[in-house]
Symmetry: C2
Subunit: 379 residues, 2 copies
């Protein structure tokens, strides 16, 4: 069975107010070509198909076109998993009707595991999609006491093992943050306050775990417990990542051979540092000058319209930093670090500035709960 | 061929800040029962399936459940048409995949007519859905000069006749305002400034025209050119309408026998008029006191918390008018009449109050165009 594993398409995403839809169309064309050329038996998209629960209509149209090319034209089945960015009920519309066409959509969390049985060259294989669900949803749907993401996923995977039986190899799809995983700046935390980490060992018994959420390709615990990563860079923090698809060849005994297939974006995303004159000179001969760029200008003097000047050479400069201008260059870094801390830390700073006091444990909990609810609400 | 024609479900609609979802679920249960009991061969929903282009997730779930019951459990095909309230690209997601399961969704306007061929007891019949499209969209998709809804629909129906040929009977679905039709207050105008009307004669050549948009059941031009009306009342102006489904029996020659099947809402929608004491006394023995009510109190004196007092007896009073309190009772009527005039008239009033002048024809046109664009924009 030849499985093409991808995730975190984030269709409809904007980056610094630029729509990435044409870049996404470009990369989906490559994915379709790989499905065809490498004769995949199934395509797995392990969550965050869309960037938000109500995606723009043009993103819906792009997904429509893509699933048609894969499921109808190439006749390759697809499994789409709802991630933390997707609206599970919207994504899951008419899922039972779509299954007949080879399009399997796992929207809201199931109350009973429902494997998808697919035929490959080496016989039938069961796929168990586990849509993203926070601990509160798992408690509600299953009536079990799970306090955090780790125990929630341990419970769900237990249900899968029970359903599948102890001997038959099977594949699980999940959308989660494995402990030890390397995050990027473009992922939205699954939980405020740190209870999002899941032990990779829970996935060890399965033939393959196709994971989504982290945007860099990586594995944790064992090579078959794996993130494909997003097909595109969605933040400058990913500039050194090599985006790819994961092609998994599972033999009859459930042993996985893994290959990464690199993807080539329409625009790369990277940062440049230097003074204006040097950068402009270098840019004239840069074949990649249409990349999406973050530019750090080291000039220490004021410059009239530096963005306009840069864009004459590099048309897609998206963000400009001027560390050379700051009284202390470290101030920029502090600002960016603070943004990375997340909302709870920002609330604590604010609370302290207003009241002169630290928030109590109880007050922290109330705010963390509210932030959690906000993040998982689907309207 | 036995066709069940309905339209204007407006799933997800709110009325006076009350969600109608439970009422909609109740009426969809009845529709499913009619499909089963009357052995319909197909169910047509002639537009405005949802109330807005981004419906609430719970409305998506309700439609999911309903199509599953009809298409999968009863094995009766359905045709869903995008109306002016629907987002055509969202509604049309994976339409080509859904067709195999007997769920035919007509989202964005086609560039080439695409009939749905269904088998009934008297052979095969072609259904041509024409999704709602304003003249600008028809111009863009077809490259033809059509100035208004009438010429746009005449053009599209001409394309259908050409595709179907002159002799074979066929059914069309459309979402439009037929000239002479009786509107209700719950429909959103298709065009600001009056160019929305379509000549019913365009539909005469077809075996049956299943129309949506007007919320009262009615026909225009000939009995087979027909609005089913909405299954529920969506404004107090509809209080005297009898909501129903339209069951159409088409024989082999294309002759239609028509029957209206009444629907019974969970809450009726009606208005009451009288003084507080009388209404409260009457309400105690009113078996329908849970209806959605507009109450007009005729008392001429001030009353402390009249809404609270009324709701103790009639829990679902949604709107209260106090014509007895007004200096001139006609003022209330003026206010409601103004709301009915629509946005362009309100703009003219505003313009005159601010500038002391009437807007010029050119100024009127600019505003009318802007309003039109706003109404048809899908984000």
């Amino acid at each position: 069975m030849r499985i093409l594993h991808t995730s975190d398409w984030h269709l409809g995403r904007q980056f610094h107010n630029v729509s990435l839809l044409d870049d996404q169309r470009h990369i989906l064309d490559q994915i379709v070509a790989v499905v065809r050329d490498r004769k995949a038996d199934v395509v797995l998209v392990a969550g965050d198909v869309y960037d938000r629960s109500v995606p723009p209509a043009a993103a819906v149209e792009l997904l429509d076109e893509t699933v048609h090319r894969i499921c109808a034209e190439l006749k390759v089945p697809m499994i789409l998993l709802a991630g933390n960015h997707d609206g599970p009920r919207r994504l899951g519309f008419a899922a039972r009707q779509l299954a007949g066409a080879g399009l399997y959509v796992a929207g809201p969390l199931w109350s009973v595991p429902c494997p998808i049985l697919l035929k490959g060259t080496s016989g039938e294989l069961a796929f168990y999609p586990i849509p993203y669900a926070d601990p509160a949803t798992v408690r509600e749907v299953h009536g079990v006491e799970v306090a955090d993401h780790d125990s929630a996923l341990a419970y769900l995977l237990g249900r899968v093992r029970q359903d599948n039986g102890p001997t038959r190899p099977c594949v699980v799809l999940a959308h989660c943050f494995l402990a030890g995983g390397e995050p990027s700046e473009s992922e939205r935390p699954l939980s405020i306050g740190g209870a999002e980490q899941v032990n990779p060992e829970h996935f060890r018994p399965f033939a393959y775990a196709a994971l989504g959420h982290l945007h860099g390709p990586q594995w944790r615990g064992a090579e078959h417990i794996r993130y494909s990563g997003s097909p595109l860079k969605y933040s400058f923090s990913e500039e050194r990542q090599r985006k790819s698809l994961t092609l998994v060849e599972l033999d009859g005994s459930g042993k996985a051979a893994i290959e990464l297939i690199p993807l080539k974006p329409r625009h790369d995303m990277r940062s440049l540092e230097g003074n204006l004159v040097d950068l402009l000179a270098a840019g004239k001969n840069d074949p990649q000058r249409e990349d999406y760029l973050l530019v750090r200008l080291t000039d220490r003097h004021a410059i009239l319209d530096p963005m306009g000047k840069l864009r004459e050479v590099y048309p897609n400069v998206l963000h400009l930093e001027r560390p050379g201008l700051m009284a202390g260059a470290e101030r920029v870094q502090v600002g960016r670090d603070r943004l990375k801390q997340g909302e709870l830390a920002m609330f604590e700073d604010f609370f302290e500035q207003v009241t002169g006091d630290q928030p109590s444990a109880e007050q922290r909990r109330v705010v963390a709960d509210a932030l959690d609810r906000l993040h998982r609400e689907e309207f």
